[in-house]
Amino acid sequence: MSEPLLRVEDLCVSFRTDSGIVRAVDCVSLHVNQGETLAIVGESGSGKSVTALSIMGLVGDSGKINQGRILFDGVDLVALRESAMRKIRGNRIAMIFQEPMSSLNPVLTIGKQVAEPIWLHRKKSWTQAYAEAAELLAKVRIPDARSRLDDYPHHFSGGMRQRVMIAMALACQPKLIIADEPTTALDVTVQAQILALLKDLTRETNAALILITHDLGVVARYADRVAVMYGGRIAETASAADLYANPRHPYTVGLMRSIPSLTSDAGSRLYAIRGQPPDLANLPTGCAFAPRCEWAKDICLRSPPSL
């Protein structure tokens, strides 16, 4: 197989906080091929969002990439300077955030915000960029797109704002789109519309998609491959079909069994994973899941398993 579009190798990211150094991402390796949808599944604090932010070069001042490489199209993003990273971010890798309410600039019109990356990265004239912005808004199925260019974000509903975010992400025809819980803040009927749109548009442009979510239903509907994260590490990776038919990691097994679905046996007791999610500032020495695992042995408590 040819070299994947993105290859993350042994990535470790830590943050300085009041309660000490937090190892948010611990030796994570994964890859995404062109045109593929990879879902990263995990609970809050599992390291899925930090992995995404590291790929975007956005870990911030309190965070530090301690180790590892992020190879995108053969270039190691970790070693890039900020000025070079700026040429990639929003251009060849685009990100869609969870909060469509707060990730748009409230004092700029929608037209300006969508046109900006086209003008900045693709060096189009402002008039041209603006015209393309109208086309993009139509493409994400915003009704009457041209007349809405001069509207401000507060004129738009949550679902419409998320469509604007998708239009901005697509503006420079990126090769990789990272969507971090893109529909968590939206209602179910709107969630289905947005995810279907995202999937259609990535298929059309043959872009790769990293879909970060905690919803195993969404994963089943939209992902080709899945990486399950727990306590900053990857617990399991598999094709979506494989993961559901034959989950192997005890955490994945527990997760699958614990969610009620529209087809499960209503009214019965749910299988529950015991215990509480791990404290990242005080991760156990062995496997992060060991304290909650039914199959934990001595070795699980002593040394972390490798993938």
């Binding site: 209602d187 179910v188 089943a220 614990s258 209503a266 994973i273 509480q276």
Partner: protein, 329 residues
């Protein structure tokens, strides 16, 4: 018809309306309209049953809960709780009744006082209703509650910030149970929790419901969770109930086009089922409650809408085991 069977009903809500006035003007405020957050909602809770209320954000499900507890002003209708209409009662008349109805909130971080110890939080309702903190009755009850929700006795002396989301939700549940309520209202009790913790809390609520013979009003937007826990379910859209049915009936034979759209939109955690499913996505989004559409509220998004739907508002009528508000069912 079960709706008029008040013998075994713990709570009967009839034509409940909650309208919030909308004011305009800086110095001289005048009312320019109203938001009809809840507009003519009726349902009955039989003793010992769990009634689920589902709908998308802004549909009025939480406001309905707050109205039943008299925590918002009721604009119209009746709330018959244990045979007495409480819709018009004032606060002092409500006080003794509050023992009988308690609430579990969505946000386990915002709903516990960070400066109080867990034992004091759980025992506070007892103090409010006249039990002394020093009495042995108080101490024994707090210990019992802590045990009942699966916490450890030594946790009583700790503060909320030392607990994870799931444990805090257990604290909130213990507090709600302190006064032995007949009615427990749970407003999105698991939606702020991690997936692996949700199952623990759902199981706890189901156990408590059975052991204490509680009547539960369970409000959530997650259809899978509501289906799991509820005996009967009401679906709300824009301030109105569009369908009420027993659980299996609702999920096996959804009748209202909105109910069907909701069920279609929920992805099933199984790629094989998903691949074979034809998805019927409904258009658009929920309109603003300030300007609801004429006729049926769902009509602008409905695939079945015709001219009658645009003019006449449908009312709940019974169809077999279900009650549905739709002209085309």
């Amino acid at each position: 018809m079960t709706e008029s069977n008040t013998e075994s009903a713990l709570l009967e809500v009839r034509d409940l309306k909650v309208h919030f006035p909308v004011h305009e003007g800086v110095l001289i405020q005048r009312q320019v309209g109203s938001v009809k957050a809840v507009d003519g909602v009726s349902f009955t809770l039989q003793r010992g049953e769990t009634f689920g209320l589902v709908g998308e954000s802004g549909c009025g499900k939480s406001t309905t809960a707050l109205a039943v507890l008299k925590m918002v002003n009721v604009s119209g209708g009746q709330i018959i709780f244990e045979g007495q209409d409480i819709a018009t009662l004032n606060e002092s008349a409500m006080h003794p009744l509050r023992k009988r109805m308690q609430m579990v909130y969505q946000d386990p971080f915002g709903s516990l006082n960070p400066r109080m110890k867990v034992g004091d939080i759980i025992g506070e309702p007892l103090v409010v209703h006249g039990v002394s903190r020093r009495s042995s009755e108080y101490k024994q009850r707090v210990r019992q509650l802590i045990d009942q929700v699966g916490l450890l006795p030594d946790m009583a002396g700790r503060y909320p910030h030392e607990f994870s989301g799931g444990q805090r939700q257990r604290i909130g549940i213990a507090r709600a149970l302190a006064l032995n309520p007949a009615l427990l209202i749970c407003d999105e009790p698991v939606s702020a929790l991690d997936v692996s913790i949700q199952a623990q809390v759902v199981n706890l609520l189901m156990d408590l419901q059975r052991d204490l013979n509680l009547t539960v009003l369970f409000i959530a937007h997650d259809l899978s969770v509501v289906r799991h826990i509820s005996d009967r379910i009401g679906v709300m859209y824009l301030g109105k109930i569009v369908e009420i049915a027993p659980r299996d009936e609702l999920f096996d034979h959804p009748r209202h086009p909105y109910t069907r759209a909701l069920l279609d939109a929920v992805p099933v955690p199984n790629p094989i089922i998903e691949a074979g499913r034809a998805q019927q996505l409904i258009r658009g989004e929920v309109p603003s409650v300030r300007n609801p559409p004429a006729g049926c509220h769902f009509q602008p998004r409905c695939p079945l809408a015709d001219s009658r739907c645009r003019e006449q508002r449908p009312v709940l009528t019974s169809h077999g085991l279900a009650s549905v508000a739709c002209h085309n069912v």
